[in-house]
């Protein structure tokens, strides 16, 4: 079988065709006469005897085949198919947040059947369990293991990029080729021209760490993913100073009221959606807010059809009802939000200690204490020594205007809450109804219900987070959760699920991925990198939104050191990246502004490497493809924010053909780099200098041989993380384990017998958040926010996609793929319509003369794609939808990102403001894409 993917037919698996069909009889040697004699003799004794004595395979007539049936022997056929030699455990390194543990059955060395392992330990006896956990895609990963998409050998491009011409190469040749290109780039242009991109450590901690570790050791740039794919909810870092912290899915069951807002759980959180349907049966009221009647809506108590992109108006309308009807939790607001914090009315800035005292600190802020009638310092602020939110005897005023003495005289101050009330007055239900299309009475009703149900929760997803003004949407919704005192309690809060930011074992992971330390690593916000290097000129809509062009904000941000941009000097000298190494991700397929990337960024790169187990769009447009082992063939670890367990990948079968694990590939690359004997002096982001000597790379990569194996790299993570101390890879192979503790980066302890929920340390332990004010901060007094953007408080701003094209183009996550994975898988495609599909309302289709299943062209100024049309009344008028992820080569023209561009919202370029400072995957500009409009017309193939 050398050189070929094994056959996985029943014949190969069982080792034969149906064994029951192969019974062989010896030819009769009896003479005819003898046989007749015998037959007649037997006939005297009856028919049955004839049949048996003559060894005839003669069927009897079955008179009533209900119940007794004499020929059950054939049934061994299917019993035989359900036999196996062994089974093993794995999961899927896919950015789906599933992190589901799977059992894979092996027979004749073929991994022939996957089944959900279903052995997560229960949290307690009342919550629904995590067993079974999986989906239809995970049920058929074997299609890729043995499929034609599998990359089996190193491939080196022989034609033009994207042309699909390849030659097989030996590992040594491919690695030397890459190593020489890296060395050339570093020596000619500097290490910050060597760029590494992968998506999300949580899905494969060891595999991710492999590439990052090499980047760290050679001085390369590691690109972010969470902000770039717009899964980062910027409103969380803005308001809470966190990346994202959400409850695990089991806590949904603890809610009494759930607003599912732009989070299509039924499609995008298949393993967890049952917690919502179970909660509903348990009496939890489910409200679904979506622009279209999507699958999650069908199981809701109320479906609210909001006009696409107006979600923050709706949230603020509900907030209006809650404040005007005094349905808010006053005590909570005083203790856990910045609502009572004093703001100067002259300049809109927080009143700072540095305004009041000569030695005062800029990171200390004031309440107005109603008990004493004075401004008093709030505890827990960023410069406060007391790391507590305990306000003691202070009774902060929520409303009012007060006069305070400052170094520059008397100044009028008011509270954030007073400013908010004023701001919210323009969001009365009637006005909001005009914006959102939602009945004013319904807005009021849902606001009241949400405020009175305890605990209540908003589950948010990409449906709102992928808009340009995603930060405002997040902030408006968080406001609802905070006004009602729901943040920090079981069953309550604002919980965001898109992408998989949470790799619980962060400490161990960071030690493995960045052995020189995070501070010495060049991290790059990918949205900015792609935007600048792809020469996105900026579309007219976003250019005119702000007082200055976006490019000026970018320059100021980079020059201020708020956001890094590699290579250094890009904006002034036109330096460009030279090498791009992508592993375990499909950068080019997922990139917004795909057309600009191919036109402008791609030609700048001297080397593009794609490391994957399957061919994908990035691979097709790369120079070298390295075959990584599949998810059945390696040791690794996976976690998710949707549950609180860690489960491993294990090598159930050996790596097929010439594939290697990511850890081994990067180790081999380290060896190839060592062979060049290259060395150079490097100045790191933290200002320190170092000499990098490539000849010692393999030794550094393996930590003197201790991390030579994938399994020991995984064990290193377990050993160095508070979540998993004392656990071993073998223990996890035996059974997934629940985390023992949480590290500082998360906002809650993990408690025995309780589902994890966020902000427990704030609410229960009074621990300050990492925000400037230490509180849930709805007021941002950064100069840009105050004077240029007018977003110091959450406001509604409409989508920015102009009016040139009529149809809003949504590219949501769907049930049939995880990004590009399974988009080219036959067994999944056979359960769809076989082609990329775009949905349209019947009236919109009729107006364009389109019929169901027509080939259509979807186009705007950015690009065009051809897809097939599905006409459905689930869609409102004016909206069109294509589930994302389709590989570029599944389209006759374009890719699903062709109509999109990259739009940077300058609010997300801010730094130097307390908690708003660049932090990879925590804070940086998001690569949103929902503010896109297109037109659709019938596509006629030119013959």
């Amino acid at each position: 079988m050398a050189g070929e993917i094994p056959d996985i037919s029943n014949k190969a698996i069982i080792g034969a065709d149906d064994p029951t069909k192969n019974a062989q009889a010896e030819p009769s040697t009896e003479t005819l006469a003898a046989r007749h004699d015998r037959a007649h003799a037997i006939l005297e004794r009856g028919a049955q005897a004839a049949k048996h004595a003559l060894a005839l395979d003669l069927l009897e007539k079955v008179h009533e085949p209900i119940g007794e049936y004499p020929y059950e022997g054939w049934e061994s056929l299917y019993r035989e198919q359900w036999k196996y030699d062994s089974f093993g455990r794995t999961t899927h390194s896919i950015n789906c947040t599933g992190s589901c543990t799977w059992k894979v059955y092996v027979r004749n060395n073929i991994a022939f059947k996957e089944e959900q392992y279903a052995d997560y330990p229960d949290i307690n006896s009342t919550l629904p369990t995590y067993n079974p956990r999986g989906c239809q895609k995970g049920a058929n990963y074997k299609e890729y293991v043995y499929g034609p998409q599998r990359v089996k050998y190193p491939l080196i491009r022989t034609g033009e990029r994207g042309e699909g011409k390849w030659r097989k190469a030996a590992w040594e040749e491919a690695l030397d080729y890459i190593a020489n290109k890296i060395v050339a780039a570093i020596s000619d242009y500097g290490p910050d021209t060597v760029t590494f991109y992968s998506a999300n450590p949580a899905k494969f901690l060891v595999s991710y760490a492999a590439g990052a570790r090499l980047a760290n050791l050679i001085g390369g740039v590691v690109c972010t993913f969470y902000d770039w794919v717009s899964d980062l909810p910027p409103g969380e870092p803005i308001t809470w100073g966190v990346q994202t912290d959400s409850c695990e899915a089991a806590d949904w069951f603890n809610s009494k009221y759930i607003i599912i807002w732009g989070s299509n759980l039924l499609e995008t959180r298949i393993p967890d959606a049952h917690f919502v349907t179970a909660a509903r049966m348990h009496g939890t009221k489910i409200v679904a807010i979506f622009p279209e009647y999507n699958p999650v809506s069908i199981h809701a108590d109320i479906f609210i059809p909001v006009k696409a992109g107006t979600d923050s108006a709706l949230a603020l309308g509900m907030a209006n009802v809650i404040v005007n009807e005094r349905l808010y939790d006053e005590n909570y607001l005083k203790r856990f939000t910045d609502m009572p914090m004093l703001v100067r009315t002259d300049n809109g800035k927080f009143l700072r200690e540095s305004d009041v005292e000569l030695e005062g600190k800029a990171g200390n802020f004031y309440f107005w204490d109603e008990n004493t009638g004075t401004a008093v310092l709030a505890p827990g602020t960023i410069d406060c020594q007391d790391k507590t939110l305990d306000i003691g005897t202070i009774n902060p005023a929520l409303h009012g205007t007060f006069m305070v003495d400052t170094l520059s005289g008397k100044v009028e101050v008011t509270t954030v809450f007073s400013l908010l009330l004023k701001k919210l007055q323009s969001y009365d239900p009637a006005s909001v109804s005009g914006i959102t299309g939602v009945d004013a009475g319904l807005i009021t009703r849902v606001a009241r219900e949400f405020a009175s149900a305890k605990p209540a929760r908003i589950i948010e997803g990409a449906g709102v987070n992928h808009y340009y003004h995603n930060d405002l949407m997040n902030r408006s919704m968080i406001l609802l959760a905070a006004l009602t005192g729901n943040v920090g309690v079981p069953g309550g809060g604002f919980d965001h699920y898109v992408g998989q930011e949470k790799f619980w074992c962060e400490e161990g992971f960071f030690k493995l991925a960045f052995p020189l330390g995070n501070a010495k690593q060049r991290f790059q916000p990918t949205t900015l990198w792609t935007y600048v290097h792809s020469k996105i000129e900026g579309d007219p809509e976003t250019q005119t939104l702000w007082p200055r062009p976006v490019s000026e904000y970018i320059r100021e941000s980079v020059e201020n050191g708020w956001m890094p941009l590699y290579p250094k000097g890009t904006l002034d000298t036109g330096k460009t990246p030279k090498v791009l190494i992508v592993w375990g991700a499909n950068y080019l397929n997922q990139a917004k502004g795909a057309e600009s990337i191919l036109t402008n960024l791609w030609p700048k790169l001297d080397l593009i490497v794609d490391i994957d187990f399957r061919m994908n769009t990035t691979g097709l447009y790369a120079d070298v493809i390295l075959p990584s082992s599949s998810m059945f063939e390696k040791w690794d670890l996976s976690t998710t924010d949707l549950h609180s367990y860690i489960n491993p990948f294990t090598p159930i079968i050996p790596p097929l053909l010439e594939s290697k694990t990511d850890w081994q590939i990067f180790l081999e690359l380290a060896r190839a780099l060592a062979n060049t004997k290259f060395s150079f002096e490097d100045t790191l982001p933290d200002g320190s200098g170092t000499k990098r000597d490539f000849s010692t790379l393999p030794d550094e990569f393996t930590a003197h041989g201790t991390l030579a194996e994938d399994k020991s790299a995984g064990q290193f993570i377990l050993d160095n993380s508070v979540e998993t101390r004392g656990m071993t890879m073998d223990m996890l192979n035996d059974k997934p384990r629940r985390f023992l503790a949480t590290y500082d980066g998360w906002t809650s302890d993990i408690k025995e017998g309780e589902a994890y929920y966020a902000f427990q340390r704030m609410f229960e332990l009074k621990h300050p958040l990492s925000t400037l004010t230490g509180l849930q901060q709805f007021y941002i007094d950064h100069d840009w926010y105050l004077t240029e953007f007018h977003e110091e408080l959450p406001v509604y701003k409409p989508p920015v996609d102009g009016t040139k094209y009529k149809l809003r183009f949504l590219t949501p996550h769907g049930r049939w793929s995880i990004h590009s994975l399974w988009r080219d898988a036959k067994y999944q495609l056979r359960l769809q319509r076989g082609y990329p599909l775009v949905y349209l309302n019947p009236d919109d289709a009729a107006a364009r003369g389109l019929s169901d299943n027509d080939s259509v062209e979807i186009y705007n100024d950015s690009g065009a794609i051809i897809a097939n049309l599905c006409i459905s009344p689930r869609m409102p008028e004016g909206l069109t939808l294509m589930y994302q992820g389709w590989e570029r080569y599944t389209f006759k023209k374009g890719g699903f990102q062709s109509p999109t561009t990259i739009r940077i919202k300058p609010t997300q370029l801010v730094g130097g403001y307390g908690h708003l400072k660049f932090n990879p995957n925590y804070w940086g500009p998001t690569g949103n894409q929902k503010d896109t409009r297109v037109e659709i017309r019938k596509y006629e193939e030119v013959k």
Partner: protein, 216 residues
């Protein structure tokens, strides 16, 4: 109708030497031709409630043997060629010959448990005719033994006619086959199925009365 017709006599003449699987083989030039009438249908059991137009079909039969192998040559009219069962509503043309397995006579309709029949079943889509044993309606089964996969054939549909040559060693290869002995005479019956839109299959077919086959 056909009940009163005397059985046709099919003679398998002895021709020493090689006989090829070919309707053009010289052996057929002088072989006597017998016309069989398919005249009987069964509606109540086989296909339960299939109702078919009254119809009489015919086939021409020739037979020959060389002492070791016996050959049958059949021709019948078929307006279209139906040689596939590759989709739910698609059925193939078929033809069968039935001989009592070890009794002198068996019930025409697939024999009986104590009087089983041996059937050679040809269907246009199959790689080879099947050796079948049946002991009554609903019981026919392709013999599972490898030995009885000893039937070879030639088939061709042309200009509205099926030509079918079937051959088998005269000696039974297993318990599941009748042996053809020289000088002996056998009862033999035939069945014909029209595939295509007629969708004839299983009991839904048209059959002849018992005829006589004599081996020279």
């Amino acid at each position: 109708m056909a009940d009163s017709d005397p059985p046709a006599e099919i003679k398998a003449a002895y021709t020493p030497g090689t006989i090829s699987l070919d309707p053009e083989d010289p052996v057929w030039h002088n072989a006597p031709e017998t016309t069989i009438i398919f005249s009987r249908r069964l509606n109540e059991v086989g296909a339960r409630t299939t109702f078919l137009p009254d119809e009489v079909r015919q086939a021409k039969v020739k037979a020959a043997h060389n002492g070791t192998d016996i050959f049958f040559f059949y021709q019948w009219n078929a307006a279209s060629e139906n040689n596939s069962v590759g989709d739910y509503p698609i059925f193939a043309d078929a033809f069968a010959m039935e001989i009592p397995l070890f009794t002198e006579e068996s019930p025409l309709w697939m024999g009986a448990m104590d009087k089983p029949v041996n059937i050679i079943f040809w269907r246009a889509d199959l790689p080879a005719p099947e050796n079948i044993v049946a002991g009554g309606m609903g019981t026919p089964q392709t013999s599972p033994d490898a030995a009885s996969r000893n039937i070879r054939h030639y088939q061709k549909w042309e200009n509205g006619t099926w030509s079918l040559v079937i051959t088998r060693p005269m000696a039974a290869a297993s318990e599941n086959q009748v042996s053809f002995a020289r000088g002996r005479s056998y009862r033999i019956a035939f069945a014909n199925w029209k595939g295509g839109a007629y969708a004839e299959r299983g009991g839904h077919k048209i059959v002849s009365e018992w005829q006589a086959l004599s081996i020279e």
